[in-house]
């Protein structure tokens, strides 16, 4: 029988769907019988989902213009045969 501790150890692989069939069957049996582990698996899955769904903020315009200036300088230096 799988304990809650065993289940938690496999949780990441379970959520990433990288466990083999045999282990998967055991894990799934465990969460149908253990409400706590079901909640932990469900809320951890949602945790991962909300982070994956976050788009980065667009680059602030001052940061962007300094980046472009730095790159233009770098490219110009390369073109005229200088190294930095």
């Amino acid at each position: 029988m799988l304990t809650c501790k065993d289940f938690l150890k496999e949780l990441s692989d379970y959520l990433d769907e990288t466990v083999d069939k045999e282990v998967l069957a055991k894990l799934e049996r465990h969460i149908t019988e253990c409400p706590n582990c079901w909640v932990i698996a469900d809320t951890t899955r949602k945790t991962i989902r909300v982070y994956k769904g976050m788009d980065p903020h667009p680059l602030p315009s001052d940061v962007e213009s300094r980046l472009m200036r730095a790159l233009e300088k770098k490219i110009a230096a390369g073109k005229s045969g200088q190294t930095t």
Partner: protein
């Protein structure tokens, strides 16, 4: 000869990445500009998460693309361009962290307890789409604060795996960690974040199950 190089806004938004890389290698600065534009926001976010410092993050952003430009001929093409620049950015960011390391240890290599005790203190169910209770801005603030509160060894792994969506292998490679180390840190990071977010996301009326 004076060469003026502009990084004009390109019309290459739909061009695939390997074409842009090939064009950039041949000196096409418009193509390189498009590559930069595609990934600058993600690289800046990654740098902010790892360094926890805006100024350092901006340096990392500039250094990453300058190094990428300089070493474009070394890019093998057997990985994705994005994975390649992430590795450059992680290296730059870690260097910043190490340089800044004084009294407060921020090493990624620090020994962390291997964690038999995977922390689970609060077991409360969440709504189906708990994030919808918050505005985009509020949600961003909640998620950022939670990530920032992780210890650096956990934070870097979580950021690369679950925010930047690198594979376990790519994350191990970028951070110079073994695969088991990535996996155990990722698990701990996920559980810690779950715990922190439960405060905001738990289903209303389920307080009876909150032990904290």
């Amino acid at each position: 000869m004076m060469v003026t190089v502009a990084m004009p806004v390109s019309s290459q938004a739909g061009v695939d990445e390997s074409t842009l890389v090939a064009q950039s290698r041949q000196g096409d600065t418009v193509a390189f500009g498009e590559l930069v534009r595609r990934y600058e926001a993600k690289i800046f976010r990654l740098a902010q998460h790892v360094t926890q410092n805006r100024e350092d993050a901006e340096d990392v952003l500039q250094e990453t693309f300058m190094k990428a430009y300089e070493h474009l001929d070394q890019f093998q093409g057997n990985s994705k361009f994005y994975t390649w620049i992430v590795r450059i950015a992680v290296n730059q960011a870690l260097m910043k962290l190490r340089r800044r390391k004084t009294d407060k240890s921020v090493s990624l290599d620090e020994t962390i307890d291997t964690g038999e005790d995977t922390i689970v203190r609060e077991v409360a169910a969440w709504d189906e789409d708990p994030e919808q209770r918050f505005s985009r801005e509020e949600l961003g603030g909640i998620l950022d604060t939670a990530v920032e509160s992780l210890e650096p060894p956990y934070r870097s792994v979580f950021v690369l795996r679950d925010i930047e969506e690198l594979s376990t292998e790519e994350t191990a490679d970028a951070l110079g960690l073994s695969i088991p180390a990535v996996k155990s840190r990722l698990l701990r990071a996920r559980l810690q974040l779950r715990e922190k977010l439960t405060r905001y996301f738990k289903r209303k009326g389920d307080d009876a199950f909150a032990y904290m």
